[in-house]
């Protein structure tokens, strides 16, 4: 079921056959085909940005213009004038950051225990985690919602954050990685008289940086983009996350395409920045290799 993480953490894919070489005819055709496909999948995002920068009254002009002439910031002014936009952004940032931080801590602790500690019931517990990764989130959606309503967590940050920390994938990922850490280092720590928690913070965590980075980035992105849970657990405009807020905007002014595309562009910016900064984690196969399982 799981290809081990080593394969994934190995340095990215071997480059083609060699470094620099002249572009051959075959390559040119390949590039042309791939470029056409890439244009297709980026075109909608391009259209989103172009629409966002058009003058609101020219958005529905037929035939459409491929460049915003004149360039207008009116849609963004409209968007930013909406009182709750800042709050939604803040909510998304709080939730994604809190979940990521907590998930890293909790999952690395548990992953370490599963990888390096002996205790009764370890295997059973671990398989419980792995098995539950197979369960679609919607199965627990309703009981979790009712549970949240009993705990009075509906429409609170607790309700948005806590269940996501519990996602079992992080534990699984950390365990797979920490298994590859040499046991001698930990033993050495013990001889030096470090406490158990000290070994974890001073030896295990620094060695696990690659896996922590992967888990952190992916948790952040998936929390930022999450929709169904924030949709059901929040019910006041103030508590919506950015994604849910956008969906509400879509329902409120479904035909104000300029404004809507400005909103979509705005919401896409943070994740695009994350993507550009951490590109190598996304693109070397390291993360995907880690996600196997």
């Amino acid at each position: 079921m799981l290809t081990s993480l080593q394969a994934g953490v190995a340095p990215g894919p071997a480059p083609g056959r060699a470094g620099i070489k002249k572009v051959r005819a075959g390559d040119a055709i390949a590039i042309a085909i791939v470029a056409a496909l890439a244009v297709m999948s980026l075109m909608p995002l391009y259209w989103m940005v172009v629409t966002a920068f058009k003058q609101p009254t020219l958005v529905m002009k037929m035939p459409p213009e491929w460049l915003p002439k004149p360039l207008s910031l009116a849609n963004f002014r409209d968007l930013l004038a909406r009182q709750l936009l800042g709050r939604w952004t803040l909510n998304s940032a709080i939730v994604a950051t809190a979940v990521t931080g907590a998930q890293l801590f909790v999952a690395s602790l548990a992953g370490y225990a599963f990888a390096k500690k002996e205790f009764a019931g370890r295997n059973v517990l671990f398989w419980l985690y792995v098995g539950s990764m197979m369960i679609p989130g919607q199965v627990t959606l309703i009981p979790r919602y009712i549970l949240m309503s009993k705990l009075r967590f509906i429409n609170t940050y607790w309700g948005l954050i806590l269940p996501s920390i519990a996602a079992p994938f992080g534990v699984f990922l950390m365990k797979q990685f920490m298994q590859t850490l040499p046991g001698e280092i930990i033993d050495a720590g013990k001889i030096d008289g470090a406490s158990e928690f000290g070994i974890y913070t001073r030896l295990v965590l620094p060695l696990s940086k690659p896996a922590l980075a992967v888990l952190g980035i992916f948790t952040f992105v998936s929390e930022w983009n999450d929709f169904l849970w924030p949709l059901v657990i929040t019910n006041s405009s103030q508590m919506r996350t950015l994604q849910v807020g956008l969906a509400m905007l879509q329902e409120e002014v479904p035909m104000a395409f300029g404004l809507l595309m400005a909103g979509a562009t705005y919401a896409a910016i943070p994740i695009t920045i994350v993507f550009l900064i951490f590109q190598r984690y996304f693109l070397t196969g390291l993360t995907v290799g880690a996600l196997k399982g």
């Binding site: 894919p13 470094g19 297709m40 548990a110 002996e118 896409a268 994740i271 590109q279 070397t284 995907v288």
Partner: protein, 289 residues
């Protein structure tokens, strides 16, 4: 007791994670099964045994959603995989920077949220003012209500997903291609194989674990499609884009029939589980744990 004491650090390290996991995963799973046997509504909580399941069996919309979800999965998974395989095969021999550039280009839509993608495509699909119908008219076709026609609504969502998707599969496949030892290709070329033959004889068989893995995860994730439906069609027209998860959402949070929705969720789980078992059986022969 001694044993527990000796193991105390293991338990201590696991405790925070397990506490959350138990409260938000284990208990809800069991509770969900229990709820599915109740008539649980805003005003009413009563034990009804298997009545919810019986209602599901006789609910034509449930069967429609199951059919739509299956069609959606059958449409998307092979197309995604095919697209990713073709692109991977084409970019893999290219120089590293070009390869990385394309991987980035295909990955960007993948990290863009479903909400954004849905909003953008609603605009593109808009019948009188959207980009797609404009291009159709340029090409001499009649404009079409893509999401409004029972024959094209689901298809439109599938095509949208195919155009936007595949980014992570490409990364995974090219990574797997990179780990194929080059001497295998040399041996094939020595035997007189062409590049295309080498692709089908060497690359594809060695990619099998990756492909099967993508099949499993792709199937599971397509079975859970929700956001696109919620934003773009609300299951219509004529329930032609009603999917299982949207139905569960509708039953629980529009009609507030939590018991019935739980039963629908249990059925969804059973189907996904069965599919995964079948696929893992397949996969298990190929990959060591």
């Amino acid at each position: 007791m001694r044993r527990l004491y000796k193991d105390r650090w293991g338990y201590a390290f696991i405790a925070p994670s397990f506490a959350l996991f138990a409260v938000f995963f284990l208990i809800p799973v069991v509770w969900g099964g229990y709820l599915s046997l109740l008539d649980y509504q805003v005003f009413n909580r009563e034990w009804v045994g298997l009545q919810n399941y019986r209602e599901i069996l006789h609910d034509s919309i449930f069967w429609l959603s199951l059919r739509n979800t299956a069609l959606y999965t059958l449409g998307i998974v092979p197309l995604w995989l095919g697209k990713a395989l073709i692109i991977s095969a084409l970019i893999f021999p290219l120089a590293k920077p070009i390869q990385t550039f394309f991987k980035g280009a295909f990955y960007l839509p993948h990290v863009t949220s479903s909400v954004i993608i849905s909003m953008v495509w609603l605009w593109i699909f808009n019948p009188p003012f959207g980009l797609l119908n404009y291009i159709m008219e340029l090409l001499g076709f009649a404009p079409h209500a893509w999401l409004g026609d029972v024959r094209t609504a689901l298809l439109s969502i599938i095509l949208m997903q195919v155009v936007m998707g595949g980014g992570s599969s490409i990364v995974l496949i090219t990574a797997a291609m990179g780990s194929i030892p080059y001497h295998l290709y040399e041996a094939a070329y020595l035997d007189g194989a062409t590049k295309t033959q080498a692709f089908f004889k060497v690359t594809i068989p060695l990619l099998r674990p990756t492909i099967l893995y993508l099949l499993v995860t792709g199937t599971i994730s397509s079975f859970q499609v929700f956001t696109n439906v919620y934003l773009m069609t609300q299951g219509g027209p004529q329930f032609s884009t009603m999917t299982l998860v949207y139905l569960i959402y509708d039953t629980a949070f529009k009609q507030f029939r939590f018991g019935l929705a739980s039963a629908q969720a249990v059925v969804l789980f059973a189907i996904v589980f069965a599919l995964a078992i079948v696929q893992f059986r397949f996969l298990g022969q190929e990959v060591e744990y």
